[in-house]
Amino acid sequence: MKSNLRALDSNPPRPNAGFGFEGRILRLVKSVPERRAIESGQVDAVIDPTTGKAFLLPDAQQALREDQARVRGLLALSSDWFWEQDEHYRFVSHTGTASGSSGIYDESIIGKTLRDPPFDSMGESDWQAHQRLLEWRGTFRDLELRCTDRAGVMHWVSISGEPTFDQQDQFTGYRGTVRDITLRKQSEALAQISREKLAERTRAEQRVERNPGNGAARGIVSRKNSAERRRQERPLGKVAKGNPIANRLLAALPRKDYKSLLAGLEPVTLTYGEVLSEPGEPITHVYFPNDCVVSLLTTVEDHHALEVGLVGREGMVGISLVLGMGVSSVRALVQGTGTAMRMSAARFRKEFRENLPLQGELYRFIHAKLAQARQIAACNRFHGVEARLARSLLMTRDRVRSDQFLLTHAFLAEMLGVRRVGVSLAAGALQKRKLISYTRGKIRILDRKGLEAASCGCYEVVKDL
């Protein structure tokens, strides 16, 4: 355009300056300042006195088209349909942008108001209030209405609108947008239901706590058989008051997710030497240790066993369930007496499916456990008994959170996969260096720094796992 009009100014105005668009402009615009403005691209529109109408120059047309496309694009992002109504609030046009909108908002809507089907949630008083707003020509935003599509499926929509006026400022109707908010409404309803359920459960729990005479109801899950009954139950109150969530994995969960787990958790005391699971046997419970330590052993030819992992308050025993296996792959042996929270396998499966933060924490824990097992596997192959013993004692210490704990020769031999003589020699060497004291299964760490120095580098690697 500019290039075509470049020479305009140099030529004097001619009564008939040719044909086409440029010619038309040249015929209409004759004064020098206006031509100069056109030439420098500063003009948007020219008015034709013969027709009494203004027309846009190509550059301005292009710019306006782009503007409109931009506005349309933004509108499409924020809404699913546009609509227009006449002065009687009846739909006169609609433009859909969302797929799958058929049946809710199509030709059948033309001529109808928000009071008519498919909209079905506007009561008489709501409609009157809405109509008053319309009479005042007010803008309305996010009016939430229910509607039923042709297939009979219910949807929720959010409607916004503003009044339109003609050139003489006469009211011509309304125009606006519709968004399908069915998904949001559904999730809100679900959240409401679960909130109510939780409140109900909390009320039930409070009733139990207010009535402590009923001893059996104190532990939330009742014990099932006599074999399990020998596990002395620690009162829930003691765990809850002294150290609300001793287990780090449970403590890392958001409060509400922990609370939903709590109903299925049962406090138990695990004693030294107790076997929680055997390889190949189904897992009946998962355990979240509070202050006990569980050693994971891999058995070879039934009588040889080697420690491949250690679980304390940082984790959970029974990770095979997380990985979809109901059968244990290791022997879980309680190495340090203490308390734990346990949950039945069936309940855990359900909780694990539904509790996303729990899933995240468990995946993180399993990753750490896997790294730990790999490190221990390499350690067992390459490092001396003394260094491995030091590493193992330090790992136990970290989980028991005490410098003093019980470990028999036999147990240590199993942990390290060596003969008892080997353990005696290694323990004796550490004792001679005044790093530990060891009498009749009681181990006391005297010099933690020194023991760290005596251990292999593997301790540094697995320390934080």
Binding site: L28, V29, P33, E34, R36, A37, I38, S40, G41, Q42, V43, D44, A45, V46, I47, P49, G52, K53, A54, L56, D59, A60, A63, L64, D67, Q167
Partner: protein
Amino acid sequence: MPRKKTKREASGRAVATIVVMRLYIANDAPNSRRAVANLEAICKEHLKDRFKLEIIDVLETPLRALADGILVTPSLTKVSPSPAAKIVGNLSEKSSVLHALGIEIEQPVE
């Protein structure tokens, strides 16, 4: 010795009378939008609240523009005080706009 004027002093002599203007534009077209922005900036700086501006969209009311002798947009006309003046384009040349509106700027005294 050259004396620098403060910004306030340099911003032109006070115009006692109210300047009445009409700006003819074409909807939201780029030059029209620019003209509105440029004029608003000039008015804010030099006229404060001593002006009246009417903005006329020629796409909506072309006859009104024709009656005022306007053929292209954007165009700015000064209706009063006399003499009447007209300036065509997006008003990016500030000095010519000021000249058309009859606003004099005092040059800093050398």
